[in-house]
Subunit: 413 residues, 2 copies
Amino acid sequence: MPEITRADVETLDQQDPLARLRTAFELPANQLYFNGNSLGAMPRAISQRLRDFAEKEWGQQIVRGWVTQGWYEMPQRVGGKIARLIGAAEDEVIVTDTTSINIFKLAVAALGFKSGRTKIVTTRDIFPTDIYILEGVVNILAGRAELCVVESEKLCSTIDQQTALVVLSPVNYKSGALFDMAKMTAQIQTQGAMVLWDLSHSCGAHEVDLHRIDADFAVGCGYKFLNGGPGAPAYLYVAHRWQQNLQQPLTGWKGHAAPFAMSPEYRPAEGVTRLLCGTHPVIAMTCLEQAVDLFGTVEMSQVQQKSRRMGDLFITLAEQRCADYGLTLLSPKDSTCRGSQVSFQHPGGYAIVQSLIEKNVICDFRAPDVVRFGITPLYQKYTDVWDAVECLVDLLKSGAWQERDQKPSATVT
Amino acid sequence: MPEITRADVETLDQQDPLARLRTAFELPANQLYFNGNSLGAMPRAISQRLRDFAEKEWGQQIVRGWVTQGWYEMPQRVGGKIARLIGAAEDEVIVTDTTSINIFKLAVAALGFKSGRTKIVTTRDIFPTDIYILEGVVNILAGRAELCVVESEKLCSTIDQQTALVVLSPVNYKSGALFDMAKMTAQIQTQGAMVLWDLSHSCGAHEVDLHRIDADFAVGCGYKFLNGGPGAPAYLYVAHRWQQNLQQPLTGWKGHAAPFAMSPEYRPAEGVTRLLCGTHPVIAMTCLEQAVDLFGTVEMSQVQQKSRRMGDLFITLAEQRCADYGLTLLSPKDSTCRGSQVSFQHPGGYAIVQSLIEKNVICDFRAPDVVRFGITPLYQKYTDVWDAVECLVDLLKSGAWQERDQKPSATVT
């Protein structure tokens, strides 16, 4: 392959149908932000939206805002907007609580549907909170459930007639490797088990079609590729066929069929509304809605295409220019098998990431040796990739990273 | 008692040591807001704070904000500020999730401490979500717990050697009647049970001293008397003596001893931090912190004193001026037995509340016949009480409320 030049990359930006969206985001000057898979950049409109919320909604309407400003229906309304991004029906998705808590609700619900089966299966490389929550489910169910955490390769041989639920992330958060969602869903369901997909690293990043693959449950967070702000509310998906009889353990008043009747007995609301629990954080959900609305003018196929091209470009440039410096590609080279990130391994990974951040290339480190670049097609340019690789090449050539601490203290994402 | 005049009431405002705080709140013109026990009015500083958050924090720092802007420690930091209002130590309170979810965590934890005991006791007149959540706890524990929901009068005779936990609100949300927290806590603990106080209608409204009464657990919401905004994050309290061995079921990554080690096994953090679950909503917590900071310059004894005086004034004026119109005082007349609200019963309660709201006296209705006025000493004036009663007298005299719908549709709080 001929050496790629910056001019080639500039042409990609000129031809990019999503380029118009970049100005919708606040991006610090002189920074290359490759960490949208941890926390998405801020949509510019958020600032004015928050001002309106304070001055026109809460400030003026106070309690009446629940009715006059549409606060009350936000979990359903914003859920409906997210549904479009993951191939779900509007009334199959609701915004509520956190990813962790939503996994808890749905894991317990799955065991309720699959009585007689006790096994919950997940992979060792899933985001750890998923495992922690499933440990919590197993503990509270004391003997009525067991958790099998296995290497991805052993997944299929572990799922059996005792398996009630399999919890998976389509994307390995370290390597970026993708599961074949359709194939895995089919294999799981063939064994009579249910699947819960954690879409935190998928929704807003690559194409997901929950209806096409006939998924049972899904969850995901609002603060990565959806750009809803730090700790933005999470969402969950329940396929129509499971909604009618679903029983979840966090039976708070907002999931009640008649929350204002103040009856002393719990009676679940219809549909996904029964997955609500307490009063939802309106301000946080307002930001999430504003951010999700930015997806209203794009197709996820466009986002995925740009993500793959940017990833391919990153990998090709790294191969052409960093080959001699001990950097090993961890992500799949085939873009159809890769989520919206590119990860490399390097023995000096921690120090390299710190050096890059100091040079305003914001990426992150995952122990023991992973250098991770998140790709966010809504606000990144192809030339950001060129410039990040340029910076990486300079750093590796100079060896300057070797003068830094080689061990991480606490890292935050 | 001689007839009170508006001039008398104006004198109370002139002598009010908390009067200076009113301008710290955004209050719609020409409105008398008596619903701060549902949703607190907005502190004026919120608007600028949200702007700074967008423009200087999220917008500029993006993911680094977790470290540079103090986002990471917010649950502990804001918890520590709330601790001061309820007589707890800073490291006994943490802000997280919703009141409902926090009740779930602590109820399961209590049963863990009191193994062999299976009974959870609460009162029929507690806010319904507390009951619903306890039903959820009992369901998931399938035989290892039972729930007794009793009238307040039968509480003491129900608590026995089988009782693990008693969940109580100091304030009856309809009548405003107060429990004697010290006496109840002692009675519960004498039986070897634990108490969980739901402070949603107490914190920021009247004096609470969890250390003095030696309480075990507490929870509360941030959006009523704390003025943290619609659906503001909730908090919980765990007495030092229970922190070491507490096990809670929602074991998410933020409650892990080393969340960024990404280890596949859950290991709880020290202290109340183990009560965290998923990533916290920074924007919502920013508002709550700003609001709680307003309490930094006042003593809860001052707030309680003004609340009682305002309530007494409301009751006296209503007695003097509305005696002939079918209004019955539901709240205790003795202010030491009353929370920060005044409730009346009236057969036309629903229509009366709608009429008052139309006249910009914002109060609320609780089925079947309760007219409820919340009292919020931080931003209300004594003359607000005068003017509200004036409006109520006019309405009752004219009988205009009789021309309205006499039945509620859905009410929102």
